[in-house]
Amino acid sequence: MQRTGAQIVWEVLTREGVDTIFGYPGGAILPTYDAMVDYPIHHVLVRHEQGASHMADGYARATGKVGCCIATSGPGATNLITGLATAMLDSTPVVAITGQVGSKAIGTDAFQETDVTGVSMPVTKHNYLVTDVRELAQVLREAFHVARSGRPGPVLVDIAKDVQQATTEFEWDDRPIRLRGHRPRAQALNESMSRALELIKAARRPVILAGHGIILSGAYNEVREFAEKTNTPVALTLLGISAFPRSHPLCLGPMGMHGEAYVNQAIQESDLLLAFGMRFDDRVTGTIKTYAPHARKIHIDIDPTEINKNIKVDVAIISDLKAALERLNPHLEAGDHSEWIARIQEWAEDTHARDIIRNAPTSERLLSPHVVHDLWKATSGNAITVSDVGQHQMYEMQYYSHDRPKTLITSGGLGTMGFALPAAIGVKMGMPDEEVWVVAGDGGFQMTMAELATAVQENLDLKIAIVNNSFLGMVRQWQEFFYDKRYAATPLFNPDFTKIAGAYGIPAFLVDNREDVIPTIEKARQTPGVVLIEFRVEMEEVVYPMIPPGSSLAEMIRRPKNGEGTTEVSDEMKQAGIGAASV
């Protein structure tokens, strides 16, 4: 059948299972927008294209499907970039479609022309510029295939305006895509498998490092089976939160820079690390010179470039995690590491003795950990929380206990402030029956709060918790520890967030003491539609524990015990914090 390029876009997208797309129209993409009206696609009109790419990302993370966004050429396309970079670092399957100026005008600095394939090259898994309508259908199919196969990632398709207008014969080709240069595989070598089994059998102090790959691969049951069969404790990366039930007796909790001290201690003392779909990011390893010095390492990852990138490993299994564990699990022998686990529990006692929830049930000022903890309590731990970036994100990691997969959505690798609200809109669009909470700081929220209008326009039942300390809290914390409390550009003037909400017709509440936290959350849950709660918290809180950047996992800045004493940041740590090569 004859179709225009614009129609082909929707012919392919609907066949690829896309029912929702996030976008913003403009000149170079207008033909495609015009054709959209005739297809069963729900278009979400964003207020800034960055929102569109975050929404597509959030949608993809929550549903496991490919998220889709669309924008015009030039500024429309460049506004997508932060969202694409976010999706790239967190391996989210996203397809972004952008209009480009007419193919004859490319290279002439035409109005709203940007070399978008050039600009997006380093932040996409792959991208395409389409200047011939006969290639369009195949390119779009490839884009979806590349986005979701192997290690997922964002793919951008830039379509010249005349291609959208041109007509060609369209026939749906449903044979599986086979690309000569893209051959992700699922099968690891038998030799790697047997070597891994030997190490597992010999281990006395094993720890599983559970990463995002578990979620991307859908390997929850397999990881659980592995952990239970071998009686191996499980430490979580930030994006590994919700990959393994937090309430499981073998779950230790988060690792790394703001992970629990006993978890990091367990990693340092371990004799076998089982890295499941994680990439030894600097935020979880601290300085690699002293990382887990006694441990053999087995790394299972689908991406060969992750092997030996940061940490040299003893066995590499380059495979889809689920497929690898399906092969490993039947050969596992029952392990008994109760002595090892008991030792970790002992270390954990020290952490519990410092725990702020236990030791400071009430305080003069409202504390952020209380807000997150009470949100967990009020939602019975069942909500999908979409967290922004900063201190509240770390509290969310520490204090909201996630048991179900894909229930913490957050920008881990790129640390994109402003991610939470738009991503949550994407999450809610994809999972309309779930209770979805935005948890954002006052800084990050203001970066993308224009998307409140999008949430209202879409009639979403979305709850928003702003943790407001009138500071860029995490940056302030670094200044406190490493820069002699010189608070350069971290105090914030803030609007009255409840009034901002009011302008959009959003019911809003202000909470500044602990007693009101749960009742107000309850009220918000009972109020349909978008509801916003501003929590005014203590201004100068510090996220404990903390490993200064460039320091060893063994050198943590700890929360003072039982509220007594002060936290000393040694000169050495200060130097490490300022001088670290990594940020």
């Binding site: 590349v146 240069g181 893209h182 070598l189 030799e191 490993v313």
Partner: protein, 180 residues
């Protein structure tokens, strides 16, 4: 140590930019990179020389594979292969020097491809170290201009360099197993 990687890539616009962008982004240092056509018009061939003291050649190889347009990569450093570099040198060659230069050209099996009043262009195709020596020997006469293509390599023997079912992932796993 120098590593020589040969890659087959799709002959499409922007592929060179992707490879160059990858090197820049991952902070890979390369000594030389050549691109040329092959027996298959849809495929180009790249030869890269990497100083492995600064850059892990295996990481380069694996990262290249991640590019969708890259079909095959092989590290031929330890494979029996023919390795060539082409140099053109415009050397000062007044009447008093010509004889001596011609002798060198003869010994190195180079060719004179242009003769001017005061200069000559000498062309040499040889292994990179031989080209180095040759250029060094010409220097006392006065090298006015010099250009080298960068190195290209081809594996010796009847076996094809790249096989359709080459499993790059298996190679990566072996490498880890064998180094431990």
């Amino acid at each position: 140590m120098k590593h020589i990687l040969v890659a087959l890539v799709e002959n499409k616009p922007g592929v060179l930019a992707r490879v160059a962008g990858l090197f820049r982004r991952r902070n890979f240092n390369i000594d030389s990179l050549t691109v040329g056509t092959t027996e298959d018009p849809s495929v180009s061939r790249m030869t890269m020389v990497i100083d492995s003291t600064a850059t892990d050649a295996s990481a380069v190889e694996r990262n290249l594979y991640k590019l969708i347009n890259v079909l095959y990569v092989q590290d031929v450093t330890n494979e029996p292969s023919v390795i060539r570099d082409l140099a053109m040198v415009k050397v000062s060659a007044g009447p008093e020097n010509r004889g001596e230069i011609l002798q060198l050209v003869d010994i190195y099996k180079a060719r004179i491809v242009d003769v001017g009043q005061q200069t000559m262009i000498v062309e040499l195709t040889a292994s990179p170290s031989k080209v180095d020596q040759f250029v060094q020997l010409l220097e006392p006469f006065g090298v006015r201009e010099m250009v080298r293509t960068g190195l290209i390599a081809m594996k010796r023997g009847d076996e094809p360099m790249f096989q359709e079912e080459t499993d790059e992932h298996a190679r990566g796993e072996w490498r880890v197993l064998n180094t431990n």
